[in-house]
């Protein structure tokens, strides 16, 4: 018996555009995806408008070099933001770690590896204290890290004073050497992003930070050692800031007590642009790189266009507001 089946044409054609629209909405909500597209578009426009200055190897390698320090710090900040916290002392940590390492080498004749190790250990201690007081003693992260910002800035003044120059050659070589024509801090930045992306995406231990950021109480009830993990996140953030500080000191060939001023807000901005939220539970490590890259490209274009520093701050502020607003708009649209 021949049977005929009736197929509603709407079922064949109708749901497909709906599906693709949903898929597109989902992709657009992924900040890594939307920011990547934005960055590509901006780069194309900048290359057309400034063909002599923007799309050159010299300019682009310099651009990457300039955002390398911020990105290394932003990786640690992204981890904290995923778990629903932040650290305002990272900028001072950059100055303190660089200053301490330089002080030990210049005034006390410490060998380069030992001085660097002590600089990193100081960060480990600072991160441990921050984490302990916040996770175990219940001090608000903003207050604790704000206090630590002041302590470390004062410490940086003590150890770096009016600045320390003439650092050992092999110390300067860490940040001033080049590989494939690109200065080393860029490679360290890429390595940091790759390692932490792998850890956060692929290891159960680091995935737990999403649960903590999403709902710390539920995470605790499910057996996650929330306090210990929070403390560990602060340690990682401080150590990454110290790595960045030592690298910056090496790159400049000088320690300065003024290094890292305002860095904390820049890296929080980069992380939020890259998809993090102050309420926690979301964000990707690669988002920190993209956020910093986006800000770096905008700043670079403004320098090429000879826009004054005053306007640069205003424009970057407007971009941040626009990015957060767009994010909220897309979330509302998807819920609707």
């Amino acid at each position: 018996m021949e049977t005929q089946t009736y197929t509603n044409p709407a079922k064949l054609t109708g749901p497909q555009p709906e599906k693709s629209r949903l898929r597109m909405d989902k992709l657009l909500q992924d900040r890594v995806y939307s920011l990547s597209i934005t960055i590509v578009v901006i780069c194309i426009v900048a290359s057309v408008v400034f063909p002599q200055n923007f799309p050159t190897f010299e300019n682009l390698s310099q651009l990457l070099l300039n955002l390398s320090i911020d990105t290394i710090v932003a990786v640690g900040m992204m981890l904290l933001l995923i778990s629903g916290m932040f650290d305002l002392s990272v900028g001072s940590m950059v100055a303190f770690a660089g200053g301490l390492t330089a002080n030990l080498m210049y005034f006390h004749g410490f060998p380069v590896p030992l001085a660097i190790t002590i600089g990193l250990l100081s960060a480990l201690l600072v991160g441990w204290v921050n984490g302990y007081l916040i996770a175990y003693q219940g001090i608000n992260p903003m207050i604790q890290t704000l206090a630590m910002l002041g302590i470390l800035r004062g410490g940086a003044l003590l150890v770096a004073g009016a600045g320390i120059q003439n650092l050992p050659y092999w110390f300067n070589a860490i940040g001033q050497s080049r590989l494939l024509g690109i200065q080393m801090p860029v490679w360290y930045m890429l390595l940091t992003v790759a390692v932490f992306s792998f850890l956060v995406n692929r290891t159960i231990f680091f995935r737990r930070y999403y649960y903590i950021g999403g709902n710390a109480k539920a995470a605790e009830l499910s057996g996650i050692e929330v306090k210990k993990m929070k403390q560990f996140a602060f340690i990682l953030s401080a150590v990454l800031a110290a790595v960045a500080g030592i690298l910056l000191t090496s790159r400049l060939g000088a320690a300065m007590s003024t290094l890292g001023r305002g860095l904390e807000l820049r890296v929080i901005t980069a992380a939020i642009l890259g998809g993090a939220s102050l309420t926690g539970g979301v964000g990707k490590i690669v988002g920190a790189l993209l956020g910093a890259l986006f800000m770096g490209i905008v700043a670079n274009i403004m320098i090429i266009a000879r826009i004054s520093g005053l306007w640069q701050e205003i424009i970057l502020g407007l971009i941040l507001i626009s990015a957060v607003w767009l994010d909220l708009y897309l979330i509302r649209r998807s819920r609707a």
């Binding site: 002599q52 200055n53 050159t56 010299e58 300019n59 310099q62 651009l63 070099l65 300039n66 320090i69 940086a156 003044l157 770096a160 004073g161 009016a162 600045g163 120059q165 003439n166 050659y169 300067n172 070589a173 001033q176 050497s177 080049r178 590989l179 494939l180 024509g181 080393m184 910056l248 790159r251 400049l252 060939g253 000088a254 320690a255 300065m256 007590s257 003024t258 290094l259 890292g260 001023r261 305002g262 700043a299 670079n300 320098i303 090429i304 000879r306 004054s308 520093g309 005053l310 640069q312 701050e313």
Partner: protein, 341 residues
């Protein structure tokens, strides 16, 4: 065939990466003397000839009113393009980043505010790229800059020390404040202390970081006045120290009793001198830094004064290597002339 062990592969990769790594030069020099500077014939005009000033804290009134105003005037007079770039805040790493990014666009010349010795590497990169580079305000030791114009901050400290000793009769408690950690200010502090040491009757009761903030300078001063009601004098070393100290001294009703010396000569500083709140200003001739700094750059580019067949190849520069523009001493006696300006 046996597979090579993973560790061996990693080590080989690591060593090959290290092998292709290009180390920085040992002496940190940029090979300046032989760097080819893009030059033009004297009198030649290029509409794209651009001179870029790079500073930090770009909106600081002292910089806007003196350095930047003179630089713009110079650009208009010479018929060349001038640009002023740098971060809005006091952010030396951001200034370094700006210098390094501007190098890529190959301007005719760079006029750089010597905010910190840490900018030496960036200056050397500019020189290495063949861009005439002049540093102003404070010199940058270790840099290969072509010329420097500015004042000696040690002398600023000495001038304040001598004046404070004169005003206090060489006795009493004295404090000072500025931005701690900045090389030029530390030089100024050293000059002040070296002079005050000669007066055994003067006791230095503290050095403070006012972070270039009027509010903070005022708060520090009011705390000082509470802790040392008999304090004889306070010295300021950044543009906002003077107005902050003066505010707290006025509020405490101690105008004239507490002597104030400070730096810079913005309208607010001058009015405070006229009113007898501040006794002396150690002023810099900042207009000369940027006017003549820009002119030096122009003279290098246009080879205005040739000293040899090829100055760059001869390893010489055709502009002065270092210029001290000197200091202004502004007191109640001559402040009227500055207010008329």
């Amino acid at each position: 065939m046996k597979k090579p062990p993973f560790l061996l592969c990693v080590c080989t990769l690591f060593l090959s990466v290290l092998n292709s790594c290009e180390l920085p030069p040992r002496d940190g020099s940029a090979g300046v003397q032989n760097a080819n500077i893009a030059t033009m014939e004297a009198g030649a005009v290029n509409p794209n000839e651009e001179y870029v000033m790079i500073t930090t804290a770009i909106n600081m009134p002292m910089y806007v009113n003196h350095d930047q105003a003179a630089f713009r005037r110079w650009g208009e007079q010479m018929g060349v393009k001038v640009s002023i770039l740098g971060p809005a805040e006091w952010d030396v790493p951001a200034q370094i980043e700006t210098i390094e990014q501007v190098i890529a666009s190959r301007p005719a010349g760079l006029l750089i505010n010597g905010t910190d010795p840490g900018i030496a590497q960036a200056i050397n990169k500019a020189v290495e790229a063949g861009i005439p580079t002049v540093v102003y305000d404070s010199d940058v030791p270790g840099s290969e800059r072509h010329a420097f114009l500015g004042t000696d901050w040690y002398q600023i400290g000495q001038m304040q020390g001598e004046e404070m000793a004169r005003l206090t009769g060489g006795k009493g408690k004295v404090a000072y404040m500025g931005i701690l950690g900045l090389t030029n200010m530390e030089d100024g502090f050293r000059g002040l202390l070296d002079v005050l040491k000669k007066y055994p009757g003067i006791r230095v009761v503290g050095r403070y970081d006012d972070k270039a903030s009027v509010e903070l300078a005022a708060r520090i001063t009011s705390d000082l006045l509470a802790a040392h009601p008999d304090i004889a004098g306070i010295c300021g070393f950044d543009s906002n120290s003077g107005p902050g100290i003066a505010l707290a001294v006025k509020e405490a009703g101690k105008v004239g009793k507490v002597k104030i010396t400070t730096v810079d000569w913005e309208p607010e500083h001058l009015l405070l001198v006229r009113d007898g709140v501040i006794q002396m200003l150690a002023g810099q001739k900042r207009e000369l830094f940027t006017w003549y700094g820009a002119q030096f750059l122009y003279d290098m580019v246009h080879r205005t004064n040739r000293l040899s067949g090829n100055d760059a190849q001869s390893g010489i520069s055709n502009v002065p290597t270092s210029v001290n523009t000197g200091l202004l001493r502004i007191t109640r006696e001559n402040v009227g002339q500055f207010l008329k300006r």
